[in-house]
C-alpha cells in the first residue's frame, strides 16, 4: 500500500470547491506525485455540501480509502460529513474568524488550525482567494514546496493576467506563513516530490480524447450528469480536427443525429447517462438493423428514474446488454479505469466500423469525474490504429451488385459482415431501414430472408467472438481457490484490497473484466474455484447473473448501492466476510 496522504476541501456548492481541489491536485501531479481524486457533490448549483478529495502518493494510487488526513473545512457541516474518515492525527484547517465558525469544536484529538482565510485573502487582494490561502496553509502542514502550487495557479489563472496570478501566489504565501508563524506544531505529514511528469485527467475527458484520436468527427448529445464532461471536452477541440459537436434538443435527437452522421461515413458518437439511455433505446434496434457503426457511451449514475444523479452505480449493465425490443446484436465494452476510457473508446470505434453495429461504452460516474495521474505515454497516439472495416470504393462496388447492377449493402457473407458503401460512392446508392430487409435493404416479410438476415447479423458477433481478444486482466495469486471477479471502475479498489487481504493471509485470484458482450468465457475459472465472488456497484448483481448463467453455477456477490464507489479497505473486509460465510454455492 502506498504511503499516501488523503486531503479534502469541503464547503457549500458555489464556494469554488471543485476548482480549488483541482488546483491542489494539479500542484501535486506537477510535483511528480500520483493523484486520485473523488468528489462528493449534490445535484444543485449553489448551496448544499460538496467536497473534493485527493488521495496522493509517490506510488500509484487507484482507489479511495476510508481515511482523511487533512481537511479544509469551509463550513462546520464539512467536518460532520467526514467524521467517519477523520482520525486522531487529522488536521482541520478552518477560518475561526468567520462568525459561523467561531464556536467550532474539533473532534477527538484532531488538530484544528484556525487560519483567517478571508482576512488574509483580502490582504492579498480579494476575499475570493480564501481557498487559495487554505491551499498555502496545507502546503505548510504537509511540508510541500509551495512552488508547485505556483505553477498550478499559473495554469489556472494565466489567461486572466499576471496580476491575478501574482495575487493568488501571494494569498497562498500568506496562508503558508500564517501556519508557520502561529503554530508551534510538528505535523506528521511530509510530502515527497519526484521528477516524474504526469498528466491529470478524468474518465469523461479520456473518452473525449480517445474519440478524437480514433477519428471521431461528429458528436451529438444532450447535457446530463455525469456524461456532460465528454461533450464539454469535445466542444472546442473536435472542431480543430474538422469535426462538430451538436447539442441536440433531446436524447432521441442526439442518437439519431449521430446515426445520420455515421450513415454519411463519419466516425460518430453520443454519450449520455441513465435517463438519457432510456430515451435512446428506440434507436438501438435501428442502428443494429441498418448496420450502422455507432458508439454510444453510457456514463452510469445511480438509478432508477432520476435516482441519485451525482452518485455512483453500475446499474445499467442490463440496459446496454438487453435494452431495446427484439434481439439486437451489439457490443458492450466497459473500461475499468480512466486510462482505459481512452483506449477502449478507440477500440469501440474500430469494433463499430468493423462489425457495423452499435458499441456501448459502459463507463460510470466514479471513473468519469475522478481525476487520475498517468504517464503521458499511457495515451499513446502512435499506437492508435484505425480499422474502418469493409468500406468499398468506387471500383469495388461491382463485386457486390446483383444481376440487375443493384448494390447489396446487406449481402449475407460468411463472416456476417457486409460491404459498406458510403454515400457519394458511384453506382452504390441504396437504402437502409429498420424494417426487416433483404440484401438490397428493401423491406421484406419473406420468412427465409428474415432468417438469413437475422443469422447474418448474429454471425458478426460470432466472428468477433472468434477474432478479437476478450480476455480479462488477472491479478493476485493465479493459483488461489478464491476467485473474485469485477467489472468497470471497481478494479482499482479491488487491486488494493488484494494487499489488505494478503495482510490477513487471504489469497485471492482477481479477474477484472472490461468486456461485457462479447465477454470471456469464465466458466472453467468459476467451476474450478472453491469460492467465487462477483463485486459490483449495484443491488442485484447484474454481472453475477450473467456469469452464473454462463457457468451454470452460483457465485457469491459483493454489492454496493448507497451511491458511493468501493473503497479498498472496505472491499477487503467485505470479501473476507464473504469468503468465511456459508452462503449458497452449487
Amino acid at each position: 500500500m502506498p504511503d499516501d496522504l488523503n486531503w479534502a476541501i469541503g464547503g457549500e456548492a458555489g464556494d469554488g470547491i471543485d476548482s480549488t481541489g483541482k488546483i491542489f491536485a494539479q500542484a501535486l501531479s506537477r510535483a511528480g506525485r500520483h493523484v486520485f481524486t473523488s468528489k462528493d457533490f449534490a445535484s444543485r448549483i449553489r448551496g448544499g455540501y460538496t467536497a473534493y478529495k485527493i488521495r496522493s502518493a509517490t506510488d500509484r494510487v487507484e482507489s479511495v480509502v476510508d481515511r482523511l488526513d487533512i481537511l479544509v473545512a469551509l463550513t462546520e457541516r464539512t467536518i460532520d460529513e467526514n467524521l467517519d474518515e477523520l482520525h486522531d492525527d487529522s488536521v482541520i484547517i478552518y477560518d475561526g474568524e468567520r462568525t459561523e465558525m467561531e464556536d467550532i469544536e474539533i473532534p477527538g484529538d484532531m488538530t484544528g488550525l484556525s487560519v483567517p482565510l478571508q482576512r488574509l485573502a483580502e490582504e492579498a487582494g480579494g476575499a475570493i482567494m480564501q481557498n487559495i490561502v487554505a491551499l498555502g496553509a496545507a502546503c505548510e502542514v504537509t511540508n510541500f514546496p509551495i512552488e508547485n502550487l505556483d505553477s498550478a495557479l499559473e495554469k489556472k489563472f494565466g489567461a486572466k493576467g499576471e496580476s491575478i496570478v501574482d495575487n493568488n501566489k501571494e494569498a497562498a504565501r500568506k496562508g503558508q506563513e500564517f501556519v508557520a508563524d502561529e503554530f508551534d506544531h510538528e505535523f506528521d505529514y511530509d510530502l515527497d516530490t519526484t521528477d516524474n511528469d504526469y498528466v491529470l485527467l478524468n474518465g469523461d475527458q479520456a473518452i473525449g480524447m480517445g474519440a478524437i484520436a480514433a477519428g471521431c468527427r461528429f458528436y451529438a448529445g444532450y447535457p446530463i450528469t455525469p456524461a456532460t464532461d465528454v461533450m464539454e471536452y469535445l466542444t472546442g477541440r473536435i472542431e480543430q480536427f474538422g469535426g462538430e459537436v451538436v447539442q441536440a434538443e433531446d436524447e432521441l435527437s442526439a442518437i439519431n443525429m449521430a446515426l445520420g452522421a455515421a450513415r454519411a461515413g463519419a466516425r460518430s458518437m453520443t454519450a449520455t447517462s441513465g435517463p438519457g439511455i432510456d430515451l435512446m433505446t428506440e434507436t438501438f434496434g435501428l442502428v443494429a438493423t441498418s448496420e450502422t457503426p455507432l458508439v454510444i457511451a453510457d456514463v452510469m449514475r445511480s438509478g432508477p428514474s432520476t435516482g441519485m444523479p451525482t452518485k455512483q452505480e453500475q446499474g445499467d449493465l442490463n440496459m446496454t446488454l438487453y435494452g431495446g425490443h427484439g434481439e439486437i446484436p451489439r457490443f458492450v465494452v466497459a473500461p475499468t479505469n480512466v486510462a482505459e476510457c481512452f483506449q477502449k473508446t478507440v477500440e469501440a470505434f474500430n469494433l463499430a466500423e468493423k462489425y457495423q453495429t452499435p458499441v456501448f461504452l459502459l463507463a460510470d460516474l466514479s471513473m468519469a469525474v475522478t481525476e487520475q495521474t498517468f504517464e503521458p505515454e499511457t495515451f499513446d497516439m502512435d499506437a492508435v490504429e484505425i480499422d474502418r472495416g469493409k468500406i468499398v470504393d468506387d471500383d469495388e462496388v461491382e463485386a457486390w451488385t446483383d444481376e440487375r447492377d443493384r448494390f447489396q449493402p446487406h449481402f449475407s457473407t460468411a463472416d456476417g459482415i457486409s460491404p459498406r458503401a458510403l454515400p457519394g460512392t458511384e453506382n452504390a446508392a441504396h437504402m437502409s431501414t429498420g424494417l426487416e430487409h433483404n440484401a438490397l435493404g428493401r423491406r421484406t416479410e419473406d420468412t427465409d430472408v428474415r432468417i438469413e438476415q437475422v443469422d447474418k447479423r448474429n454471425r458478426k458477433v460470432q466472428t468477433a467472438q472468434e477474432e478479437e481478444d476478450w480476455s480479462p486482466r488477472e491479478y493476485g495469486n493465479p493459483d488461489s481457490n478464491n476467485l473474485v471477479i469485477s467489472w468497470g471502475s471497481n478494479e482499482g479498489a479491488m487491486r488494493e484490497a488484494l494487499d489488505y487481504l494478503e495482510e490477513d493471509d487471504i489469497d485471492v485470484r482477481f479477474l477484472s473484466v472490461p468486456y461485457i458482450f462479447p465477454r470471456p468465457d469464465l466458466s472453467d475459472d468459476i467451476e474450478s474455484a472453491d469460492e467465487v465472488i462477483v463485486v459490483e456497484c449495484n443491488a442485484n448483481g447484474q454481472f453475477a447473473d450473467v456469469l452464473e448463467h454462463d457457468a451454470l453455477t452460483r457465485v457469491k456477490r459483493v454489492n454496493k448501492y448507497n451511491g458511493v464507489r468501493f473503497k479498498a479497505d472496505e472491499l477487503a473486509e467485505e470479501i473476507k466476510q464473504k469468503l468465511q460465510s456459508e452462503e449458497v454455492k452449487a
Binding site: 432521441l252 446515426l259 445520420g260 455515421a262 450513415r263 454519411a264 428506440e282 503521458p376 452504390a428 446508392a429
Partner: protein, 287 residues
C-alpha cells in the same frame, strides 16, 4: 452521371404500395423532378424518412436513403448533412411523423437551419394505421379515435416554422405538378432549411380534405401581391385561417446555413489511418 440525369433515374424499380390515387405519388414525383432539375444525381443524394405512408418513399426512390424510426427523420438528416456537406439531403415525413411525434425535432430543425429540404406529405389524417386524427386534422373531423372530432385546433405547421425562425417556408399541392415541383426546387436551392408542407390527399380515409376541396380553395401566392421576403406579409397569410395558400410564404435570402455559421465544409468521413496530427497536444493539455 451528373450531366444527363433525368428524374426517372431517381425512381427505384419497386412499385409503390400507396393506395391508387394517393397524393403521395405526385408529391414524390415532384421531389424527384426537383432533384434532377437542380443537378443532383442518386449518388450524391440522401433521402431520409420516418414512419407512415410517407416513410415508404425511400424504397420507391433511388438514392442513398435511410428509413428510420417514427418522428426522428430530421435529426438523421441533420447528422448526414453536417457530416458530409457535399450530399443533397432531403427529408420526407407525414403530418403525424413531423408535427406530432417529431414536433420537437421539427421546431429545432427549423431554428438550426441546416441546409436541407424537408417535405411533409400532409394529408391531415393517419393513413397507415387506418384513419385516426392527425395533428393537422380539423377540430370537428370524426375518426375512429375521435368520434366527435379532436375538439382541439389543428397545428399550423407554417406558423410553427415562422415562429421558430424558419428561413424558407412554403406550401404546395401534390396534384399541381408543375407548381409543386417548382416550389420543392426552390426549397432545394435555398441556402438553409427549406420547408415545404404539401397537401397530399388521402383518398381512403379523409373525405373532407379532398382533391376537390383543395382545388376549390387554394390560392396561389403567385397570383397575389405577396412578397415572400416580407415577413409581415408572410405572417398575415400564414395566420389566415380561412385560406389555403400555395407557394413560397417566406424566404430569408440572407439566412446563413448552420454549416457556414460553424465553418463546416469538409467530408467528415475522410479521416487518417491513425490518430490525427497534433493529437499529442491533447495529452499535453493535461500536464
Amino acid at each position: 452521371m451528373s450531366s444527363e440525369v433525368r428524374f426517372t433515374d431517381f425512381k427505384s424499380d419497386k412499385q409503390p404500395t400507396w393506395c391508387p390515387g394517393c397524393g403521395d405519388f405526385g408529391t414524390m414525383n415532384g421531389m424527384m423532378k426537383a432533384l434532377a432539375n437542380t443537378g443532383n444525381d442518386p449518388d450524391n443524394t440522401f433521402v431520409v424518412a420516418g414512419i407512415g405512408c410517407s416513410g415508404k418513399i425511400g424504397t420507391y426512390m433511388h438514392s442513398y436513403a435511410l428509413h428510420g424510426v417514427h418522428g426522428r427523420a430530421l435529426p438523421v438528416g441533420t447528422g448526414v448533412k453536417l457530416a458530409n456537406p457535399d450530399l443533397e439531403v432531403m427529408v420526407a415525413g407525414g403530418d403525424g411523423d413531423g408535427y406530432s411525434i417529431g414536433a420537437g425535432h421539427f421546431i429545432h430543425a427549423v431554428r438550426r437551419n441546416v441546409d436541407m429540404t424537408y417535405v411533409v406529405m400532409d394529408n391531415r389524417i393517419y393513413g397507415l394505421t387506418k384513419g385516426q386524427a392527425s395533428p393537422t386534422s380539423r377540430e370537428d373531423f370524426e375518426t375512429s379515435t375521435t368520434p366527435e372530432g379532436p375538439k382541439q385546433p389543428p397545428v399550423n405547421p407554417l406558423a410553427l416554422a415562422l415562429s421558430a425562425g424558419g428561413s424558407f417556408i412554403a406550401q404546395s399541392f401534390s396534384t399541381d405538378a408543375q407548381r409543386h415541383t417548382e416550389i420543392v426546387q426552390k426549397a432545394i436551392e435555398h441556402d438553409g432549411f427549406g420547408f415545404v408542407n404539401v397537401f397530399s390527399p388521402c383518398v381512403t380515409f379523409n373525405d373532407v380534405d379532398t382533391y376537390d376541396y383543395f382545388r376549390d380553395s387554394i390560392v396561389d401566392l403567385d397570383e397575389t401581391d405577396h412578397d415572400p421576403t416580407d415577413r409581415e406579409s408572410a405572417k398575415e397569410k400564414i395566420l389566415d385561417a380561412d385560406k389555403e395558400y400555395q407557394g413560397v410564404l417566406y424566404q430569408d435570402e440572407e439566412s446563413v446555413p448552420y454549416s457556414d455559421l460553424h465553418g463546416l465544409d469538409s467530408n467528415m468521413a475522410d479521416i487518417p489511418d491513425g490518430a490525427p496530427e497534433g493529437a499529442m497536444d491533447l495529452v499535453r493539455e493535461f500536464y
